[in-house]
């Protein structure tokens, strides 16, 4: 039986959803015009006033907000409420040189946590469940978001945060945790560790997992499901829009339902900004309909994605987004094939390597070459050259099936991959085109 947290809105008809969106959008545009000078300037420049926005059909008249805007307006330039009404901030790691600080009123927090509660309910959780949140707590939205969602749902929450794997396992086993929330790579790691300790899928009390915040493949999903004996659900979100729970998977596991009563997704052509129809691949754009403190309109996520309004058997009516395939700003075209570093990372993680890699693209005799350099880890090293070569070949095969092209895999010594400001430089493109 499909479970819902807010069944009425989650299964509302398209007419009802549109009516809610129309009303909220008009109000939201007025809110930003009145309270965020940056928006007013931007709208004036685009020749739009709040009077021009009467329904969601007018959404396309609004200018986009980009990551660069966020950077320029840091820290307070996009704040939509007086500080006395703001109760919290969350922030991204800023590893790409674009630290985002997002603000929340209590209402914003409640809305965000409700979205997370919907995700937990869709994964089958109820107030009788024990939810272990192994996402990091703190500035990162993962821990606080799922923690709040679990509270809203009334589940018993174990706020382990990330790290200390053996303690995580102790809590899962001792308190019979039934739902696990963490990144997919950590779930895979936990699964491996539990296997090492002798726990089979039948011994592990978990029944579901909600995994997000990084790219993962279907193959990785199946592995995690098998090792932990659970059903693994994807969740999507970003700090700019609120955090995890902007969209979440249902029991169908075919795309994530976007919480359309709070967020309107659009797919655009990243070059022209033109809105693309259902089923076409492009850049994902979000409009927050009722966020107060950090009300982004038409925010360009740079995630490459596809939307589908097809009916879902779970009963939810909200549009589904496919798992983002990568980001517009790091896509490489190698021998005519679109390659995202996140795909390569997925293959490495799936095969037990650390996500410490560098992609070197070059052109030799008019043909693009792809060399994936991977740092050797103690887990992958043995005294047997044949075994190391076998593992290398598994990586080459995995990359071929993920990318559809042949890559070379080079093993390098630990900590030799060039880093800038502590973060590895992922891509070196030596091609002179």
């Amino acid at each position: 039986m499909e479970r819902y947290y807010q069944k009425e809105i989650e299964t509302a008809s398209r007419e009802e959803i549109t009516a809610i969106q129309n009303e909220r959008l008009v109000k939201q545009v007025r809110h930003v015009w009145d309270n965020v000078p940056f928006y007013r300037r931007k709208m004036e420049k685009a020749g739009v006033t709040p009077d021009d926005i009467k329904s969601i059909d007018d959404l396309k008249k609004l200018p986009f907000i980009t990551k660069d805007d966020l950077k320029e307006q840091y820290p307070y330039g996009l704040l939509g409420m007086p500080l006395k009404d703001v109760v919290r901030i969350q922030s991204t790691s800023g590893t790409t040189g674009r630290r985002v600080v997002a603000f929340y009123t209590q209402k914003d927090i409640d809305l965000w946590e409700e979205c997370c509660a919907r995700a937990l309910a869709a994964a089958g959780a109820t107030d009788e469940d024990v939810v272990q949140v192994s996402y990091g707590y703190g500035l990162f939205t993962g821990g606080p978001g799922l923690n709040g969602g679990s509270h809203k749902l009334g589940s018993m929450t174990i706020p382990t945060s990330s790290g200390n794997t053996d303690r995580q396992i102790m809590f899962i086993m001792d308190l019979s945790a039934t739902v696990l929330c963490c990144t997919p790579s950590y779930a895979a790691y936990l699964g491996e560790r539990m296997k090492e300790l002798g726990y089979g899928p039948d011994d592990i009390p978990l029944k579901a997992g909600i995994f997000g915040a990084e790219a993962w493949s279907e193959e990785m999903r199946r592995d995690i499901e098998k090792t932990l004996g659970i059903k693994a659900y994807d969740i999507y979100g970003l700090t700019e829009i609120s955090g995890p729970g902007v969209a979440f998977e249902c029991s169908e596991q075919k795309g994530m339902h976007v919480n359309e009563d709070h967020f309107i997704p659009e797919i655009i052509n990243p070059k022209t900004g033109e809105v693309l129809p259902d089923g076409e691949q492009g850049e994902l754009v979000f409009t927050c309909l009722d966020k107060e403190a950090f009300p982004l309109l038409r925010y360009r996520t740079r995630d490459i994605c596809v939307l589908s309004h097809e009916k879902c058997s779970c009963g939810r009516t909200h549009v589904r987004m496919r798992k983002p395939m990568g980001r517009t700003d790091d896509m490489l075209i190698i021998r005519g094939v679109n390659v995202f570093p996140s795909q390569i990372e997925t293959v490495l993680l799936n095969n037990g390597y650390a996500a410490n890699y560098q992609i070197i693209v070059d052109r030799v005799n008019n043909t693009d070459t792809l060399d994936v350099q991977v740092e050797m880890t103690p887990e992958m090293f043995t005294d047997n050259i044949g075994e190391i070569a076998d593992r290398q070949k598994v990586l080459v095969d995995g990359l071929r099936s993920m990318l559809g092209l042949k890559a070379k895999v080079t093993l390098v010594a630990p900590k030799t991959i060039a880093r800038s400001e502590g973060k590895a430089v992922r891509v070196i493109d030596k091609r002179k085109i």
Binding site: M376, T377, P378, F381, T382, D383, N384, I385, A389, T410, L411, V412, A413, P414, K415, T416
Partner: protein, 146 residues
């Protein structure tokens, strides 16, 4: 009694082996035996040392990837046919050798040492013991003085 061998991942570039030996030298680790194997891009140094735990710790601190595994050390007479006799026992006991290397044990006594990496170390030891072969222990390796 098997002994512990340390394998060290080395990228195939000038100076990397020296980086490893410098770390060992600076920490007064005595190598009893060393063997190198290589591919085009990387190699593996396999070493037998007097203090395994300390050696692994300092190598790890110096960002080397290491792995420890059990190998068999056998004392053989340093004379024509010495190795052949031992290998006859291995063949008769149906023990497969992955790789092997030799080291100096005691020149005065005319003894050489051989390190064998086999598929199933403890199983091989049992079978070879039954053939009357004896093995050098970690303590004996450590106590070797030339």
């Amino acid at each position: 009694m098997s002994i512990k061998q340390i394998s060290v991942f080395l990228v195939n570039k000038p100076g990397t082996l020296k980086n490893m030996t410098s770390v060992l030298a600076a920490n007064r680790i005595d190598m009893r035996a060393i063997s190198l194997t290589e591919t085009k891009e990387y190699g593996i140094a396999r070493i037998i040392v007097d203090d395994v735990i300390h050696a692994v710790e300092i190598l790890k601190d110096a960002d080397f990837v290491t792995s420890i595994n059990s190998v068999i050390a056998v004392e053989i007479p340093d004379e024509p046919g010495g190795l052949d006799t031992i290998l006859a026992d291995f063949a008769a006991a149906d023990v497969n050798i992955q790789y092997m290397y030799s080291f100096v044990l005691n020149q005065a006594d005319g003894k050489a040492g051989m390190i064998f990496r086999v598929d199933d170390t403890s199983g091989a030891e049992a079978k070879l013991s039954a053939k009357g072969l004896s093995f050098l222990t970690q303590d004996e390796i450590k106590a070797v003085t030339l």
